[in-house]
C-alpha cells in the first residue's frame, strides 16, 4: 500500500522539558508503532518540522496527543464555555481550554478518557479505583461500569514512592467520607514500570492492585484507531478515520480533494477561523496572547516600525544635542567678538587722549562713546576723536594753565 493511503497516527506529548514523538501505521488488525523520537524543548521547531514531514509523507493521518494538565475534572454535564469531551453517556471530562499551542493536533484526549477506554471491559457494579500515572501525576477515578463517581488528580513531583502511596490512601479515605464506599480493588495503569511504587501502594492500601503498563504513545494510537473511540476527543470536529484496505494508488484528483478536506479540519485552520471572526482591535489583543513562533512573526511585523522609531529618535536626540552645541559656540564667538571690539575701542580712546589728557569718566560701548575729561592741548585730541567718530560732538570749556575741559559724545 502506498504512503498516501495508509492511515497513520502521529502521537506526541510533552513531559518535563522534552517532546516525545511517535507514529504508527494503523491496520484493521491493530497498529504498528515505529521508534519513539525525543526532542528537547529548545528544538521545538525541529519537532514541529518532523510532524509536518510526517504529515506530508502520510496524507491520511491524525495527530494525537494527551492532555496532562492538572485541572481536568469528570462531570455529569458538559460545559459550553470550556473544553469538554464525552467519555460515555452523561459522563464528560472538562478542562479550561485546549492547550496545544502551535503544535498541529487533530485529536486530544484526557487521561481519564484513556483510562476508561483501557479498563471499560472489566468494570462491573463493584467500585474500582482506576489510577493512571502520567507526567508525575496520578489521575484517579472511582468507577463502576455505568458511572465515574469521583475523579482526582494528585501531583507527585518531589514525593517519594511511600509519600505517593500515602496520598493515594488519603484520597480513598476522603472518598469514603463523602460516599461511604471503599474501592474494592485498584487498577493502575503506568507509562513505565515502577515496582517500588507498586510495593508501597500494596503495603499502604492493603488492597489488590492490578498493574498494567502501556506507554502513552500506544494508548494514543489505540484511542485514534477507530471513529467510535476517537469521538471522545476534546477536539470534536475531525476528519473521519479511514483505515484503508490494500487499494492501489488513486488518481491525483481524488487525493488532492482528500487533502483539501484534511486541511480544513486541522487545528490551525480552526484557530484561524476563530480569529478571523474578530475585529481589528481583537486582533491586537490576540497578538499579546500568542506564543513562541507566532510572537516571533508579530515581532517581525513590528520590526520596521520599531527600527524606524529607534533610528528617528536617535538622530532627533543627536540633532538636538548638536544644535545646542552650535548655539553655544555662536554665543561664544559673538561674545568674544564683542569683547575684542570693546577692548579695541578702549585702546583707541586712550591712545587718542594720550599722555596729555585725563579721563574723568568714559562710557565705552560698541555703539558709541561718552567721554568727559581734561586735556592739555585740545586740538590733537579733537583730530584723533574726529577720525574715530566723525559724527561725534565736542563740548569744550577752557580752563586755566592751558587745560581744557572737554566732553565728547558719539553714536557709532
Amino acid at each position: 500500500m502506498s504512503n498516501k493511503r495508509q492511515y497513520i497516527t502521529i502521537t506526541y506529548y510533552k513531559e518535563r522539558e522534552f517532546y516525545f514523538l511517535n507514529y504508527a501505521i494503523q491496520t484493521k488488525d491493530g497498529f504498528i508503532p515505529k521508534d519513539i523520537e525525543q526532542f528537547h524543548e529548545s528544538d521545538k521547531i525541529k519537532f514541529i518540522e518532523k510532524i509536518r514531514k510526517l504529515q506530508a509523507e502520510y496524507p491520511n493521518h491524525h495527530i494525537v496527543s494527551i492532555s496532562l494538565v492538572a485541572n481536568q475534572i469528570v462531570a455529569q454535564k458538559s460545559s459550553p464555555n470550556r473544553a469538554t469531551a464525552k467519555i460515555f453517556k452523561d459522563t464528560y471530562v472538562i478542562q479550561d481550554d485546549i492547550d496545544v499551542g502551535d503544535i498541529p493536533t487533530t485529536l486530544y484526549f484526557s487521561p481519564f478518557t484513556i483510562l476508561y477506554e483501557h479498563y471499560k471491559n472489566i468494570l462491573d457494579d463493584k467500585l474500582t479505583l482506576i489510577i493512571g500515572y502520567f507526567d508525575r501525576k496520578l489521575f484517579m477515578m472511582f468507577v463502576t461500569e455505568n458511572k465515574i463517581h469521583q475523579s482526582w488528580i494528585i501531583g507527585t513531583r518531589g514525593l517519594t514512592e511511600k509519600q505517593i502511596a500515602e496520598r493515594v490512601y488519603k484520597s480513598i479515605q476522603a472518598y469514603y467520607k463523602i460516599s461511604y464506599s471503599f474501592a474494592d480493588h485498584i487498577e493502575m495503569l503506568v507509562a513505565e514500570e515502577n515496582p517500588k511504587l507498586l510495593k508501597f501502594l500494596r503495603e499502604e492500601l492493603s488492597l489488590h492492585i492490578e498493574l498494567s503498563q502501556s506507554n502513552i504513545h500506544n494508548l494514543l494510537h489505540h484511542m485514534a484507531s477507530n471513529q467510535e473511540i476517537a469521538k471522545s476527543s476534546y477536539i470534536k470536529s475531525f476528519k473521519k478515520i479511514d483505515i484503508a484496505q490494500n487499494i492501489e494508488e488513486k488518481d491525483e484528483t481524488k487525493e488532492s480533494s482528500i487533502k483539501k478536506v484534511r486541511e480544513r479540519h486541522n487545528l490551525e485552520d480552526i484557530k484561524i477561523d476563530e480569529s478571523s471572526k474578530k475585529g481589528i482591535i481583537n486582533r491586537f489583543k490576540l497578538f499579546f496572547s500568542k506564543k513562541d513562533d507566532e510572537t516571533a512573526s508579530i515581532l517581525a511585523t513590528m520590526l520596521p516600525i520599531l527600527l524606524v522609531l529607534v533610528v528617528g529618535t536617535f538622530f532627533h536626540i543627536k540633532n538636538s544635542e548638536i544644535s545646542s552645541k552650535i548655539n553655544l559656540l555662536d554665543t561664544e564667538i559673538n561674545s568674544y567678538k564683542n569683547s575684542v571690539a570693546l577692548s579695541s575701542i578702549s585702546k583707541n580712546i586712550f591712545q587718542a587722549i594720550g599722555k596729555n589728557g585725563q579721563i574723568r569718566r568714559a562710557t565705552i560701548s560698541t555703539d558709541g562713546v561718552d567721554l568727559t575729561g581734561i586735556v592739555w592741548g585740545i586740538e590733537p585730541l579733537k583730530m584723533s576723536l574726529k577720525k574715530l567718530y566723525r559724527d561725534g560732538k565736542f563740548t569744550i570749556k577752557p580752563l586755566k594753565n592751558f587745560r581744557t575741559e572737554f566732553s565728547f559724545i558719539s553714536k557709532g
Binding site: P304, I305, I326, I333, Y336, L342, G373
Partner: protein
C-alpha cells in the same frame, strides 16, 4: 510583490506607517543632523582661529569667586558683585601703566568664561589710577 498581498492588514498598516515616518521624519532629521554636524565643525574651526592666545584653555562656566581669584591674578583690586537679572558688576582698579594688561584681559574674558561683556564699560581716572566698571552676563 505577491508576498505583500499575502500580508495581514495590520502588517500592511504597520509597514505603511513605517514608510511615512521614514520619509517625513527620519530622513529629514538625519539630513539635518549631518548638516549641523558639519556646521558645528566649521564654527569650532572659526573659534579656534579667533583664539590667538599662546596657550588656549577650555572655556569654563562663570563662578563669581573663581572669576575674582582669576582677575586678582592680573590686578590688585577686584570686586565682583551680583546684580539683578543674573548679571555681575565687576570693578577693577589698576595703575594707568597697566592699561594694556587690561585690554588683553578684557579681550580674553569671553574665551576663558562663558560670559558676555555688556556694552557700556565705564572708565574713571583719578590721577594715575584707572577704575573700570563692567557688567558680565553668564550664559
Amino acid at each position: 510583490m505577491s508576498s505583500i498581498f499575502k500580508m495581514s492588514i495590520v502588517t500592511k498598516i504597520f509597514l505603511l506607517f513605517s514608510i511615512v515616518i521614514l520619509f517625513l521624519w527620519v530622513i529629514p532629521t538625519t539630513t539635518s543632523y549631518y548638516k549641523n554636524r558639519n556646521r558645528y565643525n566649521q564654527e569650532k574651526e572659526k573659534l579656534e582661529k579667533l583664539d590667538t592666545r599662546e596657550v588656549p584653555k577650555d572655556i569654563k562656566h562663570f563662578h563669581s569667586e573663581v572669576f575674582t581669584t582669576y582677575a586678582k591674578s592680573f590686578f590688585d583690586e577686584v570686586s565682583v558683585v551680583s546684580i539683578p537679572n543674573n548679571k555681575y558688576r565687576v570693578t577693577i582698579s589698576f595703575p594707568i601703566e597697566s592699561l594694556s594688561k587690561f585690554y588683553s584681559f578684557l579681550q580674553n574674558i569671553s574665551l576663558d568664561y562663558k560670559v558676555i561683556v555688556e556694552d557700556n564699560i565705564i572708565f574713571r581716572q583719578k590721577d594715575k589710577n584707572i577704575s573700570v566698571e563692567m557688567r558680565l552676563k553668564p550664559y
